[in-house]
Structure formats: structure tokens, C-alpha cells
Subunit: 182 residues, 2 copies
């Protein structure tokens, strides 16, 4: 399990192209984003804002879905991945108060979160970070990487997910778009 800190400020290998408040409060404008990872303890970087999350374990994905995802999921860090997005999300207390089977039913059986996403792989690489138990302002931080020419496909994926029943439970969402400095 990786402990990851995303630090918005004046340092880091990613240039911040835009920060949009999709739902609820946004995040302060910054020029750079640094992504720090550690195995043992959470990194504590400097920054105008720092968001933390752990890669943790699967909450909804079944064995069959994991196999389908593994078959098409690309790694992070491809040289072609010049573009990235960090999308922090917080869900409602109503969502979190639901038992596991009700959340799963909304997530996949009704919103098709996994099956909608699969057609966009391997163009989009993705890593999910869990933040809720840490007492962070967001519940999840999802990191996406893709090439410049796949940016339109990524936009399409975001629009598809935001149209779902699952997304009605999103009470805060920020979209940070980035390009790699090199």
C-alpha cells in the first residue's frame, strides 16, 4: 500500500493547466503539483495545499472485474503520458451511511462505473487513493495519466461518469488538469 501526498504549490514535475470546482468548493490556484509516494509513512511536503491518500484495497471490484481491468490497465509513468488529471471527490453522508450492498449496486449495477471505464483503457492510466479514514477533506483522490491526443477520450469518460446515479452522491469535486514538465 502506497501512502501518497499531492502537493499544490510552486514545486513538482507537473504544471497545473487548470483547477475547476466541479461541485462545491475548489482548491487554491497553484502553478505546480508534486506527487510524493512512500511505503512507510505519509510524506509531508510543503505546498499551498496538500492532499493525502492511500492506495489501499478494493472496496467494490469483484474477481471477474479485477481480471477484466488487469487485462487492459496500463501502468502509470508511460513516456507518452504527457497529460494528467487529479480529481479529488467527496461523497455525501447518505452515501457512506448505506450498507455495502447498496453502495455496490449504485456503483456498478446501476451506474456501471467499471464497465463504462473499461473502453477507455488502456488509453487512460488510473490510480485510486482512499482518503476518508484519514480525516481528509476529500474521500478519494483519483490520478489519471494519458497522452495529449487521448485528452478528448478522457473528457468523454469524465462526462459519462458524471451523468450516473453514483455521481448524485458527489458533494464536492475538483478537477485539476496537468501537463508534464520535461
Amino acid at each position: 500500500m502506497l501512502k501518497v501526498a499531492f502537493a499544490g504549490g510552486s514545486a513538482g514535475t507537473w504544471s497545473v493547466e487548470s483547477i475547476d470546482a466541479v461541485v462545491g468548493a475548489g482548491l487554491q490556484a497553484v502553478g505546480r503539483l508534486a506527487v510524493l509516494e512512500a511505503e512507510d509513512r505519509f510524506p509531508e511536503p510543503e505546498g499551498n495545499w496538500v492532499l493525502r491518500g492511500a492506495t489501499s484495497y478494493e472496496r467494490y471490484v469483484t474477481a471477474a472485474e479485477r481480471a477484466a481491468l488487469d487485462a487492459v490497465s496500463p501502468p502509470l509513468g508511460r513516456t507518452s503520458s504527457t497529460n494528467a488529471a487529479l480529481i479529488p471527490i467527496r461523497k455525501s453522508e447518505t452515501w457512506w451511511a448505506m450498507p455495502q450492498d447498496q453502495r455496490r449496486a449504485i456503483f456498478e449495477e446501476r451506474s456501471h462505473h467499471i464497465s463504462r471505464s473499461i473502453p477507455y483503457l488502456p488509453r487512460v492510466a488510473r490510480r485510486l487513493h482512499h482518503s476518508r479514514d484519514l480525516g481528509e477533506p476529500f474521500d478519494f483522490l483519483t490520478w489519471f495519466e494519458f497522452s495529449r491526443r487521448d485528452a478528448a477520450a478522457f473528457d468523454e469518460l469524465l462526462a459519462a461518469l458524471r451523468s450516473t446515479e453514483e455521481w448524485r452522491h458527489v458533494i464536492r469535486e475538483v478537477e485539476v488538469r496537468l501537463t508534464r514538465l520535461d
Copy 2:
């Protein structure tokens, strides 16, 4: 969601009767246990050891199971609850690498974690705290409260759970037994 710290040391309202290393390394012997709770951020008490966890959301319980549990689960803090136990547990990396449906199948369909526990309610009050995403040494901290005369029933529940397939994935478990000071 409550952010809870359990501090073993020389302060707190619970007297430590015993600390047993059930599987793996134990915890340092202490005389008292303090339980601190906060809504906003994790308390940072003094102590020879401090374990932290968040009450968080359900990982396996279905709506039907939640209803069955709610019907018989007593609150913490009953005046009759003179006895308590804190049981920190860590599970194997193999467990955490399993997809959700495989963990759920072991947890309930094969180990009957919920259905084995229900007969011991309302004698035993219980609260689960999640620690894994925090980078803590344990994945879960479970807190139990019961009366002196129900201590034998609690021992029986522990023995039943420890005999399950689920428990084969437990790689560290400590049993801290307590009595209330008042």
C-alpha cells in the same frame, strides 16, 4: 465518523487486566487505557503506545444484516458494562490483495462473522475502528463492552471467531482486557 485514539499508559478510565499476544508481537504492558474520540481530527494523547482508528463505513455488511444487527446491538457506555476488551488485528497482504467479493465470501458466507456474532448481542456491545489506510500497525481496532457476568460469553465469541477461515488471514492479534475504574 469518529476519530478515536486508544492510549496505553498511566492515564485513562480503564484499568488494564491483561495484554495477550494472540498472534505475532504483543503490546507493551501498561496499567491504564484512555479512549479519546473526536469528530474533526485524531486526538494525540500521551501514552506508552497509541493506536488510532476511524469508525468509518461498512465494508461487508448488507442492508439485511445491518437491520438484523441494529435490532439487537446495544450502545456503548452502559452502566452495566464494567468490562471491556480492545482487540487490535492485522490481516495478511494476501487478504488485502483479494477482490471485494472474495473477502466478503470468506468473511460471511464461509466464516459467518456476522451470524456467529449476533447470538452474543445484546450482551456484548461493539465498535469497529478502521486503521489500515492510516498506516497504523494494525488494520482494525475492535472495542467490546460487557458486564462481568457476560465475560464468559465474550470469551466464547472470541473462540468461535478465531476458529474461522477468516482468522487464518490474521497475522497479528493482541487481546487487551480491561475493567472500568469508578
